[in-house]
């Protein structure tokens, strides 16, 4: 569901209208417009098997449409218990709704109309995780002030294993891509990560240090060989899958001295006539104004000192530590962001276990995501540009549109040849036609609320 073949979104004027991108080319409306002014729009997502349905959920109810059969429609009402989250099961036949206050999780089946309840789900950052093959689901639970993990078989929602974890306050769980190891980590007050086998055995526990803020982010490599743990001390520690010991740690210093590392620095240039973003066709007859300036990357000469942010230490959730981690699909690269150097993205070479490149943007990095097919990283900074990095180099692309299209989030298509860029109220589809040059045919969709 992370890389849907189609993107669901809303056209919202006074009415809500769900749209779907069929075959990534044309948007089409599904269902009928809804007047639900008193309800807030939550989220939209597609089932894993994309041929089927779209879910959008509101405060109390969920609506499901079929992509194949326009007349098919389903509405699920959670009643007075309320609804805070909803997700698809991997088979696309079940919907898991989390009620308010995390009282319970309701599993609705589209096949049999049956309902199952799971009690005591833990209200935490990442409490539900499915194995990649969709067979098992792990759920974090909290009972009697103790943390538990339950493993369910997704085909019939039977409880397979139930065990308590040695954590103070469990924050997240994540399956390894091979579905045999479950990583469980504690809240940021304590550096602790536990690894459980599918049958509930504790494989290993790892703690890098004590008495300081601990883990901030965790990521498995797609090959399940490495587990990258980003922590508040600004380091990423890579654990191996054999002994579950640390192989190496990557520090994120503010100055880079090694001349082997390429540092790309985004630089803004005042535009020159005829050298604007010509690759973008104007979105309509009334072409938007050309961007006031163009940006490009320059290779900075070492030593480079990166812009750092002084964190406010007396507030909760200080802006320090490794907040984002992502492995490339071939497990060769790891992209990280240190939150107190928010403008920079570090790219690490996992084969050689060393820093490979650093990208310094002009504004703080919002998100980045790897191309699901090749080592290509897309970065957005909340500005009107999209940035792409690959081992060959990197480039920035202006998103055309009326006014500024602030790219807040992005999502790659599974095939890796297009991606969706999301702003606050717009969606833009970006097609990467050739590998060499990202000539994007962008279609902007949406409007103001």
């Amino acid at each position: 569901m992370k890389s849907p073949r189609s993107v669901a979104y809303f056209y919202s004027g006074t009415q809500y209208q769900p749209f779907i991108m069929k075959g990534c080319k044309t948007p089409c409306a599904i269902g009928s417009p809804l007047v639900l002014s008193q309800l807030s729009v939550g989220e939209a997502s597609l089932s894993g098997a994309d041929e089927f349905a779209l879910v959008c959920f509101f405060l109390l109810s969920i609506q499901v449409w079929s992509l194949e059969q326009p007349e098919w429609h389903c509405k699920i009402d959670e009643g007075s218990a309320g609804l805070v989250a909803s997700c698809w099961s991997p088979d696309g036949r079940h919907i898991l709704n989390t009620t308010e206050f995390h009282l319970r999780i309701t599993v609705w089946s589209l096949c049999t109309k049956s309902v199952s309840y799971i009690k005591y789900p833990k209200a935490c950052l990442q409490g539900i995780t499915f194995t990649r093959d969709g067979r098992y689901m792990a759920l974090a639970e909290r009972r009697d002030c103790k943390d538990y993990v339950s493993i369910f078989v997704c085909s019939d929602w039977q409880l397979l294993r139930h065990f308590d974890t040695d954590t103070q306050d469990l924050t997240g769980i994540e399956w390894a891509p091979n579905g045999c190891v479950l990583a469980v980590w504690d809240s940021c007050l304590e550096y602790k990560i536990l690894l459980y086998s599918l049958d509930g055995r504790l494989l290993s526990a790892y703690s890098a240090y004590e008495w300081s803020l601990g883990i901030k982010s965790v990521a498995w490599s797609p090959s399940s060989q490495f587990l990258a743990v980003g922590s508040y001390d600004g380091k990423v520690r890579i654990l191996n899958h054999v002994t579950w010991k640390m192989i190496t740690e990557f520090g994120h210093p503010a100055t880079i001295n090694n001349p082997k590392i390429v540092v790309y620095k985004e630089a803004e240039k005042s535009p020159q006539l005829g050298l604007g973003c010509l690759s973008f066709p104007p979105p309509g007859a009334g072409a938007g104004p050309l961007p006031s300036s163009e940006s490009k990357y320059e290779i900075a000469s070492v030593p480079v000192s990166l812009q750092t942010l002084k964190p406010v230490t007396d507030r909760a959730n200080p802006k320090i530590g490794i907040g984002m981690l992502a492995f490339s699909p071939d497990s060769y690269f790891l992209a990280t962001r240190n939150d107190n150097i928010p403008n920079a993205v570090w790219v690490w070479d996992i084969q050689k276990l060393r820093l490979f490149a650093v990208l310094e943007q002009l504004s703080p990095v919002r998100t980045f995501q790897w191309d699901p097919q090749q080592p290509r990283l897309a970065i957005c900074t909340g500005g009107s540009r999209l940035y792409l990095w690959s081992p060959a180099g990197c480039m920035s692309v202006q998103v055309p549109g009326e006014g500024d299209f602030a790219v807040l989030s992005l999502c790659w298509h599974l095939s890796g040849d297009s991606m969706a860029l999301l702003s606050k109220d717009h969606v833009c589809l970006c097609f990467l036609e050739t590998e060499a040059s990202v000539s994007t045919a962008c279609r902007q969709l949406g409007g103001h609320t």
Partner: protein, 613 residues
């Protein structure tokens, strides 16, 4: 002191003239006691002074003054000026000799005194200057003392201040530590409190949740509903199954199957990795062996015991491993063998590299004593310089040659002889070496000859004994046969002559052999040959020997080969080329090479033989 004395003595002798002058002067002038006294006080004599001092002695009081002087002198220990009085009545006469002696002595004394005074004065001066110097030093030191005292006071003050500061800092540190402790305690207590609170809150929260749950969920909420057009088939197309114990077991099974698969996959991967690593190790080992074996030859010859065994071990290992290079062998055995052999090889390699390093460092030390590390630039400069030097030298040589040629044309004979001398020197050197070699060989032959002569002597003795025996026997025979006829006795004689000649023949054969050998040896390298001929029974002639050798090499039976190296070992004396061939030939595992090596050496010897006249 003695020196000084001698000096004064010398002065005395030299100055006696002047003294005599003085005395003459004194003589000339009317001298007086007083004037003499004054003379002692180093005031230079002058006419005026004389006139002034003449007051002491006048014409009238000569007697008194003389007596006075006599008195004075006697009190000072001088002999009396008067002659020994013979009688009491007779007036004592003035002894001129005594007076003169006294005067002389006085003068000497005065001179001495003068010298002493001078010395004292100079010493005084010296001491005065020393004193001044010391005083200045003293004042300086006093000043220094003052300043250092002040400094010390300052330092003490500073020290005190620093100590004060230190104490303050210590206090502060202690305070800080206390604070840290306190804060830690506070943190700990807060943490416990927080945890406690959290737990309480959570419990409350849980209670509330429970309550809410009961309120919201338990009553039949009409709103909770699912409104669906029609049911959807399962993704896998199957129908949902009922939950039973069977499904549970099946789930378990499946889970374990997945886990097992994962473990198997990982095991397979690890096995593959192991195999790869083993392959790499094997290859490394092979390369190491091939790298090390040519270098190992030399140490083997030198230190046969230590390295030889190791190498043989390695060979064995290599053989074993190549035999069982399959990867399906259990890990332990292969691993042990591999690691052991690799370790061994590694040790050899390491020692070799260390040796090389040592050599290099030695060369460095010899070449460049001070420079441990020569920068590239220096090196280049040096080479440039050296090249320049070489150029210069070449030029010099050329000019020298030209000069020599010119000289040669000028005075041919001398230069040619000189040059010949030059060249001859080298030749001489070489000849000397050969000479020494020959000498050694000669010695050997002499020894052999001696042994042969001894043998010959022994034979002679034996023969003598035999002859005697025969004589006695003949005698007896003769005595017995006196009655027999003449013919018989002749027959006997014939027999005896025959036997005697045969004996002589034998002797000549024996003696010829040793004579022959020196003849062989005198040309070239052939101690070994002689020995070989000796060791090989029925091959006295060299051509025969060669034939047999080649025959042996063709035969190529390992037994013979194993024997031959030992026999031919002395061949090493023969020259280096054969020696090297041997080292090649004895390469482990390559028996073919061994054969060829053998044949090579033999052909070599053959060639040498052919050179013989």
């Amino acid at each position: 002191m003695g020196d000084w004395m001698t000096v004064t003595d010398r002065g005395l002798s030299s100055e006696s003239k002047t003294i005599s002058q003085y005395t003459s002067e004194i003589k000339m002038s009317p001298s007086s006691l007083y004037s003499q006294q004054v003379l002692c006080s180093s005031i230079p004599l002058s006419k005026n002074v004389h006139s002034f001092f003449s007051a002491f002695c006048t014409e009238d009081n000569i007697e008194q003054s003389i007596s006075y002087l006599d008195q004075e002198l006697t009190t000072f220990g001088f002999p009396s000026l008067y002659e020994e009085s013979k009688g009491k009545e007779t007036k004592r006469e003035l002894n001129i000799v005594a007076v003169l002696n006294c005067m002389n002595e006085l003068l000497v004394l005065q001179r001495k005194n003068l010298l002493a005074q001078e010395n004292v004065e100079t010493q005084n001066l010296k001491l005065g200057s020393d004193m001044d110097h010391l005083q200045s030093c003293y004042s300086k030191l006093k000043e220094q003392l003052e300043t250092s005292r002040r400094e010390m006071i300052g330092l003490q003050e500073r020290d005190r201040q620093l100590q004060c500061k230190n104490r303050n800092l210590h206090q502060l540190l202690k305070n800080e530590k206390d604070e840290v402790q306190k804060l830690q305690n506070i943190i700990a207590s807060r943490a416990t409190q927080y945890n406690h609170d959290m737990k309480r809150k959570e419990r409350e929260y849980n209670k509330l949740k429970e309550r809410l749950h009961q309120l919201v969920m338990n009553k039949k909420d009409k709103k909770i509903a699912m409104d669906i057009l029609n049911y959807v088939g399962r993704a896998d197309g199957k129908r949902g199954s009922w939950r039973t114990g069977k499904t549970e077991a099946r789930n378990e099974d499946e889970m374990y199957k997945i886990l097992l698969n994962d473990y198997e996959y990982r095991q397979k991967q690890i096995l593959m990795e192991n195999a790869e690593l083993k392959k790499v190790l094997q290859q490394m080992k092979k390369e190491m062996i091939s790298l090390l074996s040519p270098q190992k030859k030399k140490p083997r010859e030198r230190v046969d015991d230590s390295t030889g065994t190791v190498i043989s071990d390695v060979e064995e290992d290599a053989g074993e491993l190549s035999r069982e290079s399959m990867w399906d062998l259990s890990c332990e055995t292969v691993r042990e063998q591999l690691t052991n052999s690799i370790r061994k090889q590694w040790r050899i390699l390491k020692s070799h590299v260390e040796k090389l390093d040592n050599q290099v460092s030695k060369v460095h030390l010899e070449g460049f004593n001070d420079e441990d590390v020569i920068s590239r630039q220096d090196h280049e400069q040096e080479t440039e310089k050296l090249e320049l030097e070489i150029q210069q030298c070449k030029e010099m040589i050329k000019t020298q040659q030209q000069l020599l040629q010119q000289l040669a044309t000028a005075c041919d004979d001398d230069t040619t002889s000189l040059l010949r001398d030059c060249y001859l020197l080298e030749e001489k050197e070489r000849l000397k070496e050969e000479w020494s070699l020959f000498k050694e060989q000669k010695k050997n032959f002499e020894r052999e000859r001696r042994s042969f002569t001894e043998a010959a002597i022994r034979l002679g003795l034996e023969r003598k004994a035999f002859e005697e025996e025969r004589a006695s026997w003949l005698k007896q025979q003769f005595l017995n046969m006196t009655t027999f006829d003449h013919q018989n006795s002749e027959n006997v004689k014939l027999f005896s002559a025959f036997s005697g000649s045969s004996d002589r023949d034998n002797l000549t054969v024996h003696s010829r052999q040793p004579q022959k050998k020196p003849h062989n040896v005198s040309n070239g390298s052939p101690v070994c040959m002689s020995k070989l001929t000796k060791s090989l029974p029925a091959s006295p002639s060299t051509s025969d020997f060669c034939q047999t050798r080649s025959c042996v090499s063709e035969h190529s039976s390992i037994n013979v080969l194993n024997m031959t190296p030992e026999e031919i070992k002395p061949n090493q004396v023969g020259g280096e080329c054969t020696n090297q061939k041997w080292s090649v030939a004895s390469r482990p595992g390559s028996q073919e090479g061994c054969y060829s090596g053998c044949s090579l050496t033999y052909t070599n010897s053959h060639v040498e033989k052919d050179d013989l006249p």
